[in-house]
């Protein structure tokens, strides 16, 4: 059976996903090896059970992100913290020392002309500080970079899908 691959996007800029697309023709090779069962690139609306590998881009910044990270963890064998925003919070983390409220006020009260006010309907609540993915759920593999290069993504996926041997020195943080 083909491996089941997913990609998820939390609070990131999508640049890590763009680097994934930078696999170019290797994307088609990957499609032979694995089914992309959940991703912004496909139409599945619910994160499925039994995912082998999931690339998680972005930090955990809202209540929705939190829920999503937990769902991904519970349904995924190997969770990859994908890119610097997921690994360290990177740029989203810059709002940490400021707190959510002043940020929202700047955008929706100070820098607006009509109907000033912080949106609350339908939209989720912001966490006061963005968190790296491993602060919220256990992470199996760290793939840093802003974004990680397409080659790094390719090699990591080949290894996790069991198609290449692990590198001599495992990259680690902390």
């Amino acid at each position: 059976m083909k491996a089941r691959l997913a990609t998820v996007w939390l609070d990131g800029c999508s640049g890590c996903h763009m680097s994934f697309l930078d696999l170019d023709e290797r994307l088609l090779e990957l499609a032979e090896q694995a089914d992309l069962v959940y991703s912004p690139l496909v139409d599945a609306k619910e994160y499925p059970d039994g995912v082998d590998v999931c690339l998680v881009e972005g930090s955990v910044s809202t209540t929705d992100d939190l829920e999503k990270a937990r769902t991904v963890r519970s349904r995924t064998k190997t969770l990859v913290s994908f890119g610097d925003c997921a690994v360290t919070t990177n740029v989203p983390g810059m709002r940490g020392p400021i707190g959510a409220r002043p940020l929202l006020e700047r955008a929706f009260v100070d820098n607006a002309d009509l109907q000033q006010g912080i949106p609350t309907a339908v939209v989720p609540a912001l966490l006061d500080k963005p968190l790296p993915v491993h602060r919220v759920v256990p992470v199996d593999v760290f793939l840093p970079g802003c974004p990680p290069s397409a080659d790094a993504i390719y090699e990591t996926l080949q290894r996790l899908l069991g198609l290449a041997s692990p590198p001599e020195r495992e990259l680690r943080f902390g």
């Binding site: 609070d11 023709e25 912004p40 690139l41 400021i98 109907q115 006010g117």
Partner: protein, 476 residues
């Protein structure tokens, strides 16, 4: 109707760049009463940059969006040029144009081939499991490989110039950091013919599919609006420079040769209580009458011509078929393909001049003004970065007006119109909802730019009557 109570929720909207939800509300008679597009993530770049040195701004702003980082880098660097009160050397202006156009190529290719072509190849009612790029690769290999090749072309130009495909650090305040070398120029020029052939095939393919979508082409968001974009003095399309032009739905000029820098004099921003994405309006007409659109369709509506022979010939044919200022959002797709053709042609034209190898690529200066605005055309439309700094060059205030924000109001109209036309509450199908999502895909919204959204995962579309009885459930 602001989504307080929704009967159908599409969550997340897929095959777009960013995360969002659509809510559809039904009336007592079960007919669609309204629909809204919600962006549910917020990034706050307007606040987090405060206190940062001005020279960091392009690199930080790039991280607003990994799909169009170059647009942010260019608008940001132009705002910094203003603050330093310098003009970049002429060759740096040309090199910035090349990178900006390369981004138009890669971003438009992603939108058309990777994200929207599955709908156009398989139809809106096809099983969702095959509606993606890999499905396209299996059923129409040439189409998929043309899309991948075009996106690769754009990304490679960016990488060749900037050393990196995503978030290159090469465009800087005052110009660019490194001149172009002869071998890099040759390498890019060598790939041009293949890229031109790929986009020509894409255009032919799109035209061959169009007849099958005659109804959708006139139904996925047709509300008449103003169009806005940057135009050169000659009337040609401008991407990195130029002045604002605004026309109404009939093509009447409302503004021309307007300096885009004091944007706040013409544009206002409105908060939507159910979305982190603000809307904008043309002040002279007020809100919502002053609703306008930006991006490929709007640019073709405002310009006299694109400014390269083959693209202009095809533009003439497009206008003969659709009118001078088409209002149906479906035609964003064709406009995008025409812009890809134009952008590749202009890249080749700029690089064809050996003067582009000149080594004077950066004007160096300190802070000479306390405020600057940089405006450019991003793939999705006009982009404005506005900064204030103190005497040490530390940023004290930032405002960003982002392409997708300009389109927010018209996207909401498109969603409401498409839902009213296609969604039938008593016999809901997945294809009906995919059409509502496809209306959004026409605009190619970039939500990480605007704020960046993420919805909740489980899709349960439950249809309830006004009395609350469960009528139907659809899951994907």
């Amino acid at each position: 109707m602001h989504g307080q109570h929704a009967d159908i929720v599409i969550d997340p909207v897929t095959r777009i760049e960013g995360h969002s939800k659509i809510t559809i509300t039904l009336g007592d008679d079960g007919a669609v009463a309204g629909a809204r597009f919600h962006v549910t993530q917020f990034r706050g770049f307007e606040r987090i940059c405060v206190g940062r040195p001005m020279h960091e701004m392009p690199a930080i702003m790039s991280r607003i969006c990994g799909i169009c980082p170059v647009s942010h880098i260019i608008a940001s660097s132009k705002a910094c040029d203003e603050i330093m009160a310098v003009s970049p050397p002429p060759v740096a202006v040309e090199l910035r144009r090349v990178m900006n156009l390369a981004q138009v190529v890669q971003s438009h290719s992603l939108s058309f081939f990777h994200l929207s072509s599955p709908d156009l190849l398989f139809g809106f009612d096809a099983p969702p499991g095959e509606r993606h790029l890999f499905g396209v690769a299996a059923a129409a290999p040439q189409l998929a490989s043309d899309g991948i090749a075009l996106r690769r072309f754009g990304q490679r130009v960016i990488e060749t110039l900037g050393g990196k495909r995503v978030h290159p650090g090469w465009v800087v305040p005052g110009g660019v950091s490194q001149p172009l070398e002869a071998d890099q120029r040759e390498a890019i020029l060598a790939e041009v013919p293949e890229a031109l052939d790929a986009v020509r095939r894409g255009l032919e393919w799109y035209r061959s599919r169009l007849a099958g979508f005659a109804e959708e082409a006139e139904a996925l968001g047709t509300s008449p609006t103003l169009s806005m974009g940057l135009v050169h003095e000659t009337g040609n399309a401008a991407y990195s420079d130029g002045d604002l032009r605004v026309v109404d739905a009939e093509g009447t000029l409302l503004a021309d040769r307007t300096d885009p820098k004091p944007y706040w004099e013409y544009l206002g921003e409105v908060v939507q209580p159910d979305s982190f994405l603000k809307s904008t309006y043309w002040r002279a007409l007020g809100y919502p009458e002053g609703t306008y659109r930006v991006g490929p369709l709007a640019r073709l509506n405002v310009v006299d011509r694109l400014g390269s022979p083959e693209a202009d010939e095809r533009l003439g044919e497009y206008r003969a078929r659709l009118g001078r200022t088409p209002q149906s959002s479906f035609h964003y797709h064709e406009a995008r393909l025409l812009e890809i053709l134009h952008a590749i042609t202009v890249i080749a034209e700029i690089l064809g001049d050996p003067g582009v190898l000149d080594h004077h690529v950066r004007s160096v200066a300190a802070v000479n003004r306390s405020e600057g605005v940089g405006v450019s055309e991003a793939p999705r439309g006009t982009l404005m970065h506005h900064y204030k700094v103190d005497d040490d060059g530390l940023v004290t205030w930032v405002n960003l007006v982002i392409a997708t924000g300009h389109n927010n109001e018209v996207m909401n109209r498109a969603v409401a119109e498409t839902a009213a036309r296609y969604v039938r509450a008593d016999r809901l199908t997945e294809g009906m909802l995919n059409r509502v999502e496809a209306a959004i895909r026409c605009f190619d919204p970039c939500l990480s730019c605007s704020t960046h959204a993420i919805g909740q995962m489980p899709l349960e579309i439950e249809l309830r009557s006004a009395a609350g009885d469960l009528l139907d459930t659809v899951a994907r």
